[in-house]
Subunit: 773 residues, 2 copies
C-alpha cells in the first residue's frame, strides 16, 4: 500500500517527484475520452521507470496464444489492446543537454489530475547537469467534445540563462506492447509525412492469419505552435523521419525569465471510423478545425463537458476526504473509459490506462459496469452496451458450435474484442459459462431501470433465445437423481474449477429460461417483430419451450438441509470448513498457496452463491440471505477486486454496518493506494463500478421497484453525510444522506415518486423533500 | 494407418524407398543401447523429410516453460531430452555432386532393422543427376557391449564410372531440439580437435538459471578407416572446423565396380560418467580400444549380446507373422531403451527415438514397464528402476513442500529428469497424484516377483513412509460424510480433471498406508535398519500410524449400490451414460470434441477403476471384476496407448476372448503401422511394455502367487500357438501355449514349481512338462 498521493476533493496530486512510483502515477493520471487515451506519461524524454502507453479504442491485435498444452476448442488468438502511436512527445534540448527528469535535479514538482475539469497538469523546475534551471508547466487533456483529439500546452521558462534550444515535437509509432506474448511488434508503417510544424503518421496492424480479424489503420496527426509574449513565433522547422516515427525540430531562443509556450494538437483517426484512403485527409481537416478553435477554447469546452458529467453522477462524501477522492477517482475513470457513443466499443479491464489482461470485454461489463452507466449516463449509453452483445450474437453461436453445440445455441466469450473468444484456459473459457447468464440478466436489468421494454422486440429476444438454447443443451438429465444437472462448470468463484452443479450457474440458467419464456410472451403480445424473430432464429417454439419448461420444473439445486443454505456446488461440504480468520498468515492465498491447495480449500475468491442472491434478491427472504451470508462471507478472501461490492450491498441490507464499511474500504482506494501492488500495470477500471455500487446500492440502498427508484440508505459512522446524483428515466435526483434525515432533490422539472424505506414519496419538479430516519 | 513395412519375423524392412514416410521409418529403425542411441537417419546428407536425432542417456536441458496463465506451484522448467552431436555423418561428393537421395534416382533401396542382431542395414543404388550410378551399403549399430560407442560400415561401389571422390566424415553438434519451447539451441562448444582421420567435439549444455540443474558435457569422438580390396588406405585427410562442427575430408579414387569401405567408430562420453577434464582423454582411449578391436569383432559381440537377450525374453507367435513382428519390435525397443546398468537412468516416453513429451520418467515406468523388466532381465535391472525413485526421495519431499505439505511427505513428480517436477498443467502436475501410489506399488510388485524382501530394509521403507505421509495429509475428514475423503484429484483417466474421491486414487492411497504399516512391521522384525530409518525420516511411529489406521478404517469409496460397481468418482452417475458405440462418428474424441465436452462426458481415456482392480485383483471376486468391466469398458475410448493392455488382461481373465484379442490388436503394431499418425515423432516406448503384458499376463495369464509363477493361458483363435520366455528368481522358463496343451520348459538347471490353472506343477532342471488344456 502506497500513501504518496495528496488527499484532495477533486484532484489527484503528486506533490514532489516520486520516480520510484512513476509507473503507478502514470496509471492513476491516465487520460481518456472513450475514443482515445493514454497513461500520464511525460511529454519530454524520460529515461527512468515508465510505461509509455497510448491507446485508440477499438483497435487491437490477435497476438499468438501461448499455452502449455493445447486443448481442443482453444481460441486461435489472444487479442491485445494495442499500444499505439505516442502523440505527446515534446523533447527539449539546450546546448546539447536533453531535458530528462531522471538526469536533472528536480524542484517544486507537482503533477495534478484535475478530475473536475478533465485535465492533467504538471509543473517543476529542473536543473540540468550544466546548472541551467528551467521551469516547465504542462497541461494536457483528451477532448470529450472532439473525441478523436487531444491537446497539450507545454510552457518553458529559463530561470538562469538565455540560450537557443532545440524542440523536437514528435509522433512515435515505433512502440510495442509490454504484454506481447512472443516479443513481437504489431504495427507496420503505411505512410508518414511532415510539413511546416505538422506531421502525420499512418500505421497499420500486421496482417493476421485469422480471416475474422481485420487489420486496422490509425492515422495520427499533429500540429503545433510556439508562442512567446502571446505572439505566435514563426520558426523554421526541420523534418525528421525514422522508421514509424516522424517529427519536427524547431530551434528557438529561450530568454531568461521569459515564457515560451508550445501548443500541440493531435488527432487519432482509425479505420473503424474512416475508410483507409480518407484517414489522412480527414486527419488534416480535423486538425485544422481544432487548431482554428485553439487551445483555450478546447479547454473551455473540456471543462464544460466534465461539468455536465459531474452534474449527473457526482458523489459527495463529507467528513472523509480520502473516501471523497476515492469515489470521484472511480467515477472519473469510468467516464473516461466508456462514453457509450459507439456500440462497437466496450469497457476494457484496464481502459486506456494499461495493457494487461488483453481483450476488452468481460462479464464485468454486464454484472458490474452496467448499473453505473444506467444511473449516471443517458439511456443510450447503457443500451449500447447491450447492443454490443447483440451485434456479437452470430459469433457467440459460432463459439458454441466450436464447442459442440448446435441449433443456434449461443455461448458468449469470456474475453473478447470482436465477439470471438480469446482467452485460453480451459477451466475459464470452456467452463466459466455463467457469463452467458449475466448477458441475459443485463437485458432484464436495463429494462427494469429504463422501462425501455421495446428493447426486447428490437434486440433482446434473439439474444435471450440463443442463450437459453445454450443452457438447454448444456444441462443434462441425471438418471441417478431424476433431475436436470449441469456438470463441469466454473462459477464466479474461480478458486473452484470444473465443479458439478454450481448453484449460481444452475440458478442463473433456470432464470434465463424463465425470463426468455416471459420475453417471448411479451414480444408476442406486442406483435411487432415476433414472426421475424421466429424466422431469423429458426425457433421451434413448442419443442424448445417445452424442454425449457421441463428443465425449469426439474432442475437440481445443491442445498444443505442442515444449515439451510444453498451449496456452492456438489461436494462443497466435504471440504474442511474454515474461515479466513483461521488462515491469517496464509493470505493472500493466491500468492501463498499452490493452485491445487486453493482449489480443494473452502476459500472463496469472490461472491458466488451470494452473487446469485444479489442478482435475484427478491426471490429470497432476508433470513435466507442472512444464513447464506453468514455461511459464505467468512470463507471469502475477496481476492478479486469485484468481490467486496456485492458484500457491501448485502451487509448493508442485513444491517451489518461495520461489515459493509469494512468491505467498502477494501475497494474504495484500491488503485489510489496501490493495495495490490499492481497499479503500475494500469487501473482496475471495471471494479471501480463496484465501488460506485457499494456507495449507491450499498449505503444508498438504491433499487428499482415497481418502476420507481427505491432507497434504504444508511450513513456509515465514519462519514458526516454523503450524497449521490442519479438519473432515472426522465428525471435526475440528488440524494443526500444526513445523520438525521434524507434529502432528495428532484433536479428535473417533472415530478417523480420514489420509495424511501418502502414508503412512497412524491417530489415535485426542482423540489427537495426531507425524510427523517 | 500405414502398411509399407514388410512383415518379417525378425526384421523391420522398408523395401523400396518411401521418402514420404522417411520420418516414420527413422523412428521405427532407431538404435540404442541404454547409454546412447538415435533415429534411423542416413549417414549421408539428405535434404528430404528427416528428423535428425541423436541422444545420450541422462543428458538433458531445463527448457523455459510455456504457459498460458501462471499458477502458483508450477515447476520452474520443462526438462528436455537433448538432441546431441550427430556422430553418423559421412558425406560423399563426386565431381561436385553430393550424394543426396532426395536428388538422385534411387533403385533397389532396402533398409532393414535386424532385431535379432541389433543392427541397421541399408542398401541402394543411386544415380546422380550426372548419370553416375553408385551402389551403397551401410551397416550401423550401437554397441551393447561397449555401450558408449557405435560403429558404421559404409560401403561405396561406383557402377558406371571411376572418379576421385570427396568423403566428409563428421561430428555435427550444431543441432537443435525440434520441441524447443522458444526456438533456442541448448549447446555451447567447449572444445574441438581433429587429427589424422579422427575428430573430437566437446559440447556443454547452456548454463541454466536453476541451481538444481547441472550443466552436462558430452565429448563425442570418432575415428575412421578406408579400405579398398581389404587393404587399409592411407589417404590424406583435411580438417574442417566450423561452429560446433568438426570433420575430416578425404579424397580417394573410387574405381568402377570396386568397393570402398569406410569404417567409422564413434564414442559419446558424458560428464555423468567422467569428470569434465577426463572426458577427452577417456574418449581417445575408448576409441583406441574399439578401433583396435575392429568393426567385425564389435559386430560379433553385438550379435552375441542380442542373442543372449532374446534367449531371456523372446515371444514366438505362430500363424501370425504380423503379430510376431509386432511383439519382437516392442521387446527390441524396450531392451534398447533401458538396460538397467545405471540407477540414474529411466525409460523416457520416446527412448532414443524422438524428443516429444520431454522428461524421462512418468508413472509408466512403475505401472507398465516394471513387469516387463522383472520377467525379462536380471533382477538388478528392475531393482535399479526402484532405486532411481529412492534416490529422488528428497526431491519428492521438496516437491511436496512446494505444494504446502510438510513433515517429510513425499510427492513424486508426474514428469521428471532429476526428481524435480517439470510438467506444468495444474490438473496433471498438482492433481494426478495417483502416480505416488504407483511408486509404492512397484516396490510391492518387485518384492513379490523377486522375493528380494531385503529391499524394504535397504531402500523401500523410507520411500513408503514419505508416500504414506503425503496421503495422510492430502486426505481430509468430511464432517458431512463422517468419512475421510480426497478432493481435487485427476485419476489415470485424464478425461476427468479435478474430481472428488476418485475411487482408484482413494483405494491406492489406503493400500499404500496398509502396505507401509506391513513394511514397518517387516523391517522392525528384520531388526536391521529400522532405527536408522526412524531417525532419518524423523518418524513418529505412534502418532503417524494411528492417523493412518484411522484413515484405513474410515475412508470413503464411491459406490453404486444399484449396479454394484465402484464409482470412478463422486457424481459419475450424473453423467449421460453412453457407450462408445453411441458416438462412433465422433472418435477419436480427443480430436473431435472440445475439452469441456470430453470432461463432462462419461468417456474414459484409459483404465481407471479397472486399473485399480488390475493392481489389486486378489481383493476382488471375479463377479465384481465382471460387473465393473462390463460397466466401464464400453465407455472406454482407449485414447491412451497405455489403455488396452489392462483390458486385455482382464478380458482374458473373464474369458472374453474376442474382447481380449480386439484390445491386443490395438496395441500390437501401434507404431509399426502408425495407427495414431504420430510415429514420426518417435515410438511409444512405455506402451510397448503394455503390449508385452497383454501377451504374457493377458494371454499367458502370468502371475506370481505364493512365491510361484502361475499361468492361466488361452490361445487366441487367430494364432496357431505362441510361446514366451520369462525369468523368475533363479530360473528361466519357456512357456509354449499350443492348441491342445501347454508346454513349460525349464531352461535352467534347478527344478521349479509353477501353478497352471491353479494346479501345482513341478519341473526338473532342463526338463519340459506338457499340460493338456
Amino acid at each position: 500500500m502506497k500513501n504518496y498521493i495528496v488527499h484532495n476533493e477533486w484532484c489527484i496530486i503528486e506533490d514532489g517527484f516520486h520516480p520510484e512510483y512513476n509507473e503507478i502515477t502514470e496509471s492513476l493520471m491516465s487520460l481518456g475520452n472513450g475514443r482515445m487515451g493514454g497513461r500520464g506519461n511525460f511529454e519530454e524524454k524520460y529515461s527512468g521507470k515508465t510505461l509509455q502507453g497510448s491507446y485508440v479504442a477499438g483497435v487491437w491485435f490477435p497476438d499468438k496464444t501461448r499455452v502449455g498444452w493445447w486443448k481442443n476448442g482453444y481460441p486461435n488468438y489472444f487479442a491485445k489492446v494495442l499500444n499505439a502511436c505516442n502523440w505527446i512527445g515534446i523533447d527539449l534540448e539546450i546546448e546539447g543537454e536533453l531535458l530528462d527528469l531522471s538526469k536533472c535535479d528536480v524542484y517544486d514538482f507537482r503533477r495534478v489530475l484535475n478530475m473536475f475539469e478533465g485535465t492533467l497538469e504538471r509543473s517543476f523546475v529542473a536543473t540540468l547537469p550544466s546548472g541551467k534551471s528551467i521551469k516547465i508547466n504542462t497541461l494536457r487533456f483528451c477532448s470529450l467534445k472532439d473525441d478523436e483529439s487531444g491537446a497539450i500546452r507545454f510552457s518553458i521558462t529559463p530561470l538562469n540563462f538565455s540560450s537557443y534550444a532545440k524542440l523536437t515535437v514528435s509522433l512515435d509509432g515505433d512502440v510495442s506492447n509490454k504484454d506481447s506474448n512472443h516479443g513481437e511488434k504489431f504495427w507496420n508503417e503505411i505512410n508518414k509525412e511532415t510539413g511546416y510544424s505538422e506531421c502525420y503518421l499512418t500505421l497499420e496492424t500486421k496482417k493476421s492469419i485469422w480471416e475474422s480479424v481485420p487489420t486496422f489503420q490509425v492515422c495520427t496527426g499533429m500540429k503545433f505552435e510556439c508562442y512567446q509574449h502571446n505572439e505566435l513565433l514563426s520558426c523554421q522547422t526541420f523534418p525528421i523521419k525514422k522508421d514509424k516515427y516522424v517529427a519536427n525540430e524547431v530551434k528557438t531562443l529561450l530568454k531568461q525569465n521569459e515564457e515560451t509556450i508550445i501548443y500541440k494538437y493531435a488527432v487519432n483517426l482509425s479505420s473503424e471510423n474512416y475508410s483507409n484512403e480518407n484517414l489522412l485527409p480527414e486527419a488534416k481537416k480535423y486538425l485544422d478545425r481544432i487548431v482554428a478553435k485553439g487551445f483555450n477554447q478546447m479547454l473551455e469546452e473540456q471543462k464544460q463537458a466534465w461539468k455536465t458529467k459531474w452534474e449527473g453522477n457526482d458523489i459527495q462524501i463529507d467528513g472523509d476526504i480520502a473516501a471523497q477522492q476515492g469515489i470521484r477517482f472511480n467515477i472519473f475513470h469510468l467516464q473516461q473509459t466508456y462514453t457509450g457513443q459507439d456500440a462497437r466499443l466496450n469497457i476494457g479491464p484496464k481502459g486506456f490506462t494499461g495493457e494487461k489482461y488483453g481483450g476488452s470485454t468481460y462479464w464485468d461489463t454486464e454484472a458490474y459496469c452496467l448499473p453505473f452507466y444506467l444511473s449516471t449516463s443517458e439511456q443510450k449509453v447503457a443500451r449500447n452496451l447491450l447492443v454490443y452483445r447483440h451485434n456479437h450474437l452470430q459469433r457467440a453461436i459460432e463459439n458454441a458450435v466450436k464447442l459442440g453445440f448446435s441449433g443456434g445455441a449461443a455461448l458468449y466469450p469470456m474475453v473478447t474484442m470482436n465477439g470471438e473468444e480469446c482467452h485460453n484456459e480451459w477451466e475459464i473459457t470452456f467452463e466459466e459459462i455463467h457469463r452467458n447468464g449475466a448477458i441475459a440478466y443485463a437485458i432484464f436489468d436495463y429494462i427494469r431501470y429504463t422501462g425501455d421494454e421495446n428493447y426486447l422486440n428490437e434486440y433482446g429476444l434473439e439474444v435471450l433465445i440463443g442463450i437459453s438454447r445454450f443452457w438447454a443443451q448444456r444441462i443434462n438429465w441425471s438418471s441417478a437423481q431424476q433431475k436436470y444437472v449441469m456438470l463441469g462448470v466454473t462459477g464466479p468463484n474461480e478458486y473452484e474449477n470444473n465443479v458439478n452443479n454450481n448453484w449460481y450457474t444452475n440458478y442463473l440458467a433456470v432464470w434465463c429460461l424463465k425470463y426468455t419464456l416471459e420475453a417471448i410472451e411479451k414480444v408476442k403480445k406486442d406483435n411487432f417483430r415476433f414472426e421475424d424473430i421466429i424466422r431469423i432464429t429458426n425457433f421451434d417454439e413448442t419443442a424448445e419451450t417445452s424442454r425449457w419448461k421441463n428443465i425449469i420444473k426439474n432442475m437440481y439445486f445443491p442445498y444443505d438441509t442442515q444449515r439451510e443454505v444453498f451449496l456452492q456446488q456438489d461436494g462443497f461440504l466435504d471440504k474442511e470448513l474454515l474461515t479466513v480468520n483461521d488462515i491469517a498468515e496464509h493470505r493472500p492465498i493466491n500468492q501463498k498457496w499452490s493452485w491445487d491447495r486453493i482449489l480443494r480449500s473452502c476459500f472463496i475468491k469472490q461472491a458466488d452463491v451470494l452473487q446469485g442472491m444479489y442478482f435475484f434478491e427478491d426471490d429470497f427472504s432476508i433470513e435466507e440471505l442472512r444464513r447464506n451470508f453468514n455461511f459464505y462471507e467468512p470463507m471469502t478472501v475477496h481476492e478479486s477486486s469485484l468481490s467486496p461490492c456485492v458484500h457491501v450491498i448485502q451487509a448493508a441490507k442485513l444491517g451489518k454496518k461495520d461489515k459493509a464499511y469494512e468491505m467498502y474500504v477494501r475497494t474504495a482506494r484500491l488503485d489510489l493506494d496501490d493495495y495490490n501492488n499492481d497499479t503500475e500495470d494500469g487501473l482496475h477500471i471495471t471494479s471501480m463500478a463496484g465501488t460506485w455500487m457499494s456507495v449507491v446500492k450499498g449505503f444508498g440502498g438504491l433499487r428499482v421497484k415497481a418502476d420507481m427508484l427505491s432507497f434504504s440508505p444508511f450513513l456509515p459512522e465514519q462519514w458526516q453525510s454523503f450524497s449521490f446524483r442519479v438519473g432515472f428515466r426522465n428525471n435526475a435526483l440528488k440524494v443526500a444522506i444526513q445523520r438525521e434525515h434524507i434529502a432528495i432533490e428532484n433536479l428535473s422539472d417533472s415530478p417523480i415518486s420514489v420509495l424511501v424505506e418502502g414508503n412512497k414519496v412524491s417530489i415535485r419538479g426542482l423540489d427537495t423533500v426531507n425524510i427523517p430516519h
